[in-house]
Symmetry: C2
Subunit: 272 residues, 2 copies
Amino acid sequence: MSVTTLHRPTHRDALGLLETAFGGGRLVTVFGRCTVEYDGRASSSLGPGDRLIICKPDGTILVHTDEKRKPVNWQPPGCTHRVSVREGRLRIRSERSAPEERLDVDFERIEQVSAYEVTDRSDLTLTGSEEDLRQRILDDPALIEPGFVPVATERETTAGPVDVFGADADDRPVVVELKRRRVGPSAASQLQRYVDALDEEFPGEYVRGILVAPSVTDRAAALLEERGLGFVALDPVGEDGDGSGSDSNRSGGSGGDDSESDDSESGTVDGA
Amino acid sequence: MSVTTLHRPTHRDALGLLETAFGGGRLVTVFGRCTVEYDGRASSSLGPGDRLIICKPDGTILVHTDEKRKPVNWQPPGCTHRVSVREGRLRIRSERSAPEERLDVDFERIEQVSAYEVTDRSDLTLTGSEEDLRQRILDDPALIEPGFVPVATERETTAGPVDVFGADADDRPVVVELKRRRVGPSAASQLQRYVDALDEEFPGEYVRGILVAPSVTDRAAALLEERGLGFVALDPVGEDGDGSGSDSNRSGGSGGDDSESDDSESGTVDGA
DNA sequence: ACGTCGATTTCGAGG
DNA sequence: CCTCGAAGTCGACGT
């Protein structure tokens, strides 16, 4: 049986299913009226309401309301789930140590419990990451500027690992910091930090810093300017050949359409 | 009816329920064998497997596998869901513009569909945030150091807003950057950024920078030292009176136990 | 374990 | 809208 579901179960029946499901490595959903208490890195309290709780066999627990992408409460993988019934409430408790954290979901009423048998061997493939941007630059270093030669990636410095370390046409050390999307002040600071560190490593040499991203905010641009840092506008995916390695800030549009016709009936919901 | 569930429905029946549920502002879960394609800020592809899909009335869609806290694929609130059946597959498509993004979940087989009526008026209360740390300091500025006087919070600078701006006993400008937990190099950079900005605002004056956090990493401590920045060890919650305003790095333990005895039966699952 | 940083980060606040 | 920074961030990879 791939799915087991109880509709409006007694707490005792729900507890039985939950025990079996937890023991059998199943994914579980519980829907009902509950309160949630959390204590650990922070503390939180959530009054009564109807929510969807998801318990994963890896120890994850999620409490979802009807809004937002993030669970209102949760526990990360590696936790231990326990179920108990007392004083007319069904409690799911999730705990872990290091750090010491506990989440209690107390159900006053359970509308539905389901236990799913999950099989999923597929891995996600994703493109458009910073890693893709790095590969793009290693494949064609001139995208940074003519004469740029990459020497190392993730090169360690006292301030942390540098995305791409290399040399320019005049053999000066160059630090390249990559960002897959438009950047703000923090990216400029990060680059500055690496340049400072390498300045100490290469006394007497002028260490250049170049930020590579689709675009920068005004404030970030000002910081870069102030610090004598360079900027190269580049997308992680090379939709169109943009190889001008200069100090121009422009935003990269995200294109790529492929049309597909609709079919038969269709239901729609518009987000809030 | 608070919950409507179909077990192993035909695609047509599932589509009917989904349309009704989407139209009625319900939270929906679908479990079955599916593939997922995403294109937008990045692009991803996920081969066939059994997954739990959650569609929220605010336009959120989540694709969860049996592992991890984060969905393997998703779409944020504000998207539009559409359902269709074609060539033996049921497709849930979620789209938005600004940015242009699309997520397609194609079901080959549906084990279960449920539509939940969610009512949740309760708000989450959370303690232990950076805001709590700030309040703690405003209540007792001497926690920073004797003679410290807060002047403004979120004070704007050319480098961004400063958490707490004030003056020390000698009336020198002080920038305070708050972090609710142990910090790394980025926090030191952030503070440095603000100090630099205020240095320009107060020519001729020495602007001090102080990082307030439970603790710092070695590298962050080195960066602070290098830059002449101060550090005060402080937790967002004042579990024990720690008012020493000095350069000691120590990690803050998270306490607070309240014991509760177990009861009746109990099922357990250990994370991986 | 801890450190460091990326992320389709998400999220909220403010301009 | 955009900018900016927090987050119980999570997660991966390294030491």
